[in-house]
């Protein structure tokens, strides 16, 4: 072997090692949570109310709270995000306004989640007087996932071949009809992927709901969107830092439930995307 080949061998070994330094911790985290948490997961755990200061019983209100929050978030964020993406791909001309919008999207994506929390507290909870509630939390989370939804929808809309639009317009359809009947259906899987990734993100966020929704311990289900609610990530935070003598089983079980929920959304998005890619290639 020449010196060059040895050099290359060493370099590639180092690169491979860096890859393992990312992959191994990730798999270890997932594996460890599953290993420690699977024993706690039972039908009772996910369908019962917490008892004895959360040290016994299930986590139903936290699960329900998260589901409400996530549904509210996506109902608010999807039309805004898709509309925004339609404007950017179908209507906007390259210019100052477009540049400004793109800059805003990029900056929104970089705003720390706790700042979204402050914003939600200031605007929704106090200024609009909604109060700490599911609605205030969903509005805050919708702002937070908006960049994700816009970026994914925009990519999906851009992947629609220009010739489809032209064919539809040539047949006498108006621009709006073209978007409605040709562009959007074609871009749907991509938009769906973005929406699901957004949901996954919203389900795992803690800091914004800490300031806008949070109920420390509320052993009943929320009755309306103006109610406070428990939520899985916040519940995990509470039981791992604020409650003394918390049995570890419940902590790991909650972590696994949260991770499982997020994984379901993540896998759904990944599967849709891969299928869509394959269909496009064919």
């Amino acid at each position: 072997m020449t010196k060059k080949q040895i050099q290359e061998k060493i370099a590639f070994t180092v690169l491979t090692m860096t890859m393992f330094m990312v992959v191994i911790p990730t798999l270890l985290i997932i594996g460890y949570i599953i290993y420690k948490g699977i024993g706690t997961i039972s039908w009772e755990f996910i369908t019962a109310m917490p008892r004895k200061g959360m040290r016994e019983g299930g986590i139903l209100p936290a699960i329900v709270g998260t589901i409400y929050l996530v549904m509210g978030t996506i109902i608010l964020a999807l039309p805004l995000g898709v509309g925004s993406a339609i404007y950017l791909t179908e209507y906007a001309k390259q210019g100052k306004v477009t540049r400004l919008i793109r800059l805003a999207i990029m900056n929104l994506a970089g705003v720390p989640s706790v700042v979204y929390g402050l914003f939600g507290l200031g605007l929704f909870v106090y200024f609009l007087n909604i109060g700490t509630s599911i609605l205030a939390g969903a509005l805050t989370l919708a702002c937070l996932i908006l960049p994700v939804v816009i970026t994914a929808s925009e990519e999906a809309l851009k992947s629609v071949p220009q010739s489809y639009r032209e064919a539809s317009l040539a047949l006498g359809a108006t621009k709006l009809q073209t978007i409605q009947k040709v562009v959007l259906p074609f871009a749907m899987p991509g938009i769906l992927t973005g929406a699901i990734l957004g949901i996954g993100r919203a389900a795992g966020e803690t800091a914004p709901i800490l300031l806008t929704v949070a109920a420390f311990f509320l052993p009943r289900l929320p009755k309306s969107i103006f109610d406070q609610a428990m939520a899985l990530p916040y519940h995990l935070y509470i039981i791992s830092t604020q409650v003394p003598n918390m049995p570890q089983g419940i902590q790991y079980g909650t972590a696994l439930t949260l991770l499982g929920l997020v994984s379901i959304f993540f896998m759904l998005a990944t599967v849709i995307r891969i299928k869509f890619k394959m269909a496009n290639r064919a």
Binding site: E8, V22, Y116, L236
Partner: protein, 315 residues
């Protein structure tokens, strides 16, 4: 006969008029919907402005009670003592220290991993790796924080024989995990976006694959890699739950990685529950939010500038 023709003509006129009416109705509808779409298009601008506005409106009220000088330069953050003091310095120091640690860990690993994915890995491995890395970014920060408490903090305590494992280092390690996906994905994109000719020309001149990577590809993709690092820094500074759970949260300027530290983000999240609306403490937390938002916005703007320059160079 003539009559019939006349009738046809009038009928024609009639349907024509009807069509026209329908057209106007339609185009009016389209006009309105297009305006709505424009409004949706600028939502992100509106939201971003509102965030700034609300933070400034509430945060700047602090300076009625506390001088700007005290806020920026005092070393004491004692918001709930009898003589409350609101010096942001220890919080900024905590944020910077933990971010610096996280970046020191995640940059070499992340850039290396990005090079491995884009240049060394076979296509199938590449796909699997990308899914794993995306999954890493999907793990909720509170789950990492929880593992930090039950596992990592113990390791740190035992390996450095400390009295407590809740240190800046523990935070840095976990935050580096959260910055990694950003750094890897954007660096990988930057390397992938390079023209094929760069590789081919270098290989044709007799350079090895490694020489091509280190002498041609990495320098050519450097703007993208720098932008990736900037965005990684932004991610690390903004991380809240993980650092709040594992760094011990002592509000003093940390001198080493092995002491407790408290970040700006953790301060806001942890103390907001104890504040009274429109009290000084409440305003102070919003002021901390302004500093945080300004830092991340600057970082994002720099990253955007670098990426744009890279795109122009590419052309």
């Amino acid at each position: 006969m003539a009559n019939a023709q006349e009738m046809l003509v009038t009928q024609d006129k009639f349907t024509h008029r009807k069509n026209l009416k329908k057209d106007i109705k339609h185009s009016l509808g389209e006009y309105i919907i297009e305006k709505i779409i424009f409004c949706l298009g600028i939502t992100s601008v509106i939201i971003f402005s509102l965030i700034f506005l609300f933070l400034l409106r509430t945060g700047l009220t602090l300076f009625r009670d506390v001088s700007l000088k005290e806020f920026l330069f005092s070393k004491n953050w004692f918001p709930i003592s009898v003589n409350p003091q609101y010096g942001i310095l220890p919080l900024v120091a905590g944020s910077l220290l933990i971010t610096a640690g996280a970046i020191l860990i995640s940059v070499p690993i992340g850039v290396g991993c990005a090079i491995y994915i884009s240049e060394v890995a076979p296509p199938k491995t590449k796909m699997v790796l990308k899914v794993i890395i995306e999954f890493l970014s999907a793990i909720p920060s509170v789950v990492l924080g929880f593992l930090g408490i039950v596992v990592l903090a113990n390791w740190v305590r035992i390996s450095f024989s400390l009295s407590s494992g809740f240190t800046a280092l523990t935070g840095s390690i976990l935050v580096s995990l959260m910055a990694l996906p950003t750094i890897i994905t954007i660096s990988d994109d930057a390397i992938n976006a390079l023209p094929k000719e760069y590789r081919e020309a270098s290989l044709a001149l007799g350079a090895t694959k490694w020489e091509t990577i280190i002498n041609v590809l990495v320098p050519a993709a450097s703007s993208g890699i720098i932008a990736a690092i900037m965005l990684g820094i932004g991610r690390a500074i903004g991380e809240t739950m993980t650092v709040m759970m594992v760094t011990g949260n002592a509000a003093k300027i940390p001198d080493t990685f092995l002491t407790s530290a408290r970040t700006m983000t953790a301060t806001i999240a942890a103390e907001m529950g104890d504040t009274v609306r429109n009290g000084t403490h409440y305003h102070a937390l919003f002021a901390v939010g302004i500093v945080l938002l300004m830092m991340t916005t600057c970082i994002n703007l720099i990253a955007d500038f670098v990426l744009n320059r890279a795109r122009k160079e590419g052309r």
